[in-house]
Amino acid sequence: MQVLYFAWLRERVGAAAEEIDPDGATTARELVQRLSASDPRYAAAFADMAAVRVAVDQEICDLDSSISGAREVAFFPPVTGG
């Protein structure tokens, strides 16, 4: 699946987008845990989960929502538009 990062999450991860195999992760939170365990730059980016929001297939949802079958998962800080 495509995983996208925005704002300071993108800066800390070091990439705007990457193709990732969820490898058994069924929720966004599980995906974060897997990524954080695999590489310290993810652990640093996701250190404060209270500051992380997620959209699955471009719909905002919570971190414990299912990502099974999703094409695109995006992680970002709370929005600041307007």
């Binding site: 925005f6 300071w8 959209a55 800080p77 307007g82």
Partner: protein
């Protein structure tokens, strides 16, 4: 088109004229323009960079617009939100609402801004002489959006 996400500046008068043209049932038009301010708590900014989530921003704003049209009797509605590098004084966002009577136009415009502030995927980065910093979301924006929850007083 009701919603536009674009780099380019917009003309409020032209957009208003386009929204109202030909509809003699419109008795009220409310307009909100958001601008880039120069002074922040940390000092003056030279510019602001607005990042967005292409595709999702269009959908998210259309959803918010649909909800406003479902909740209020509007004759018309227009949202324009810019992205990219903007300098102090520049226009960021336009919300126009048109209705037969003023209450719907006022309330819908306030609702649109409160929901846009909390649900539209944009992120602002301020550039100052000391460096660049990402703007934090405000709890007051969440509180403002919460007051529109159905059943909330």
């Amino acid at each position: 088109m009701t919603v536009s996400v674009q780099r380019e500046d917009f003309d409020v008068a032209a957009e208003t004229a386009r929204l109202t043209s030909g509809d003699r049932d419109i008795g009220a038009v409310v307009s909100f323009t958001g601008l880039v301010r120069e002074m922040t708590g940390e000092g003056p900014i030279g510019a602001m960079e607005l990042e967005h989530y292409p595709g999702m921003t269009q959908r998210a704003l259309e959803k918010i617009a649909d909800e406003a049209q479902a909740r209020w009797p509007l004759q018309g509605l227009r949202i324009i939100h810019r992205y990219g590098r903007l300098e102090p004084g520049e226009r960021i966002v336009l919300v126009l609402t048109a209705s037969r009577h003023r209450q719907a136009a006022f309330d819908a415009a306030a609702f649109l801004m409160d929901y846009l502030k909390t649900r539209a995927p944009f992120w602002k980065k301020e550039e100052t002489v000391g460096g660049a910093r990402w703007v934090d979301a405000r709890e007051t924006d969440d509180q403002a959006a919460a007051r529109w929850r159905r059943g909330a007083s």
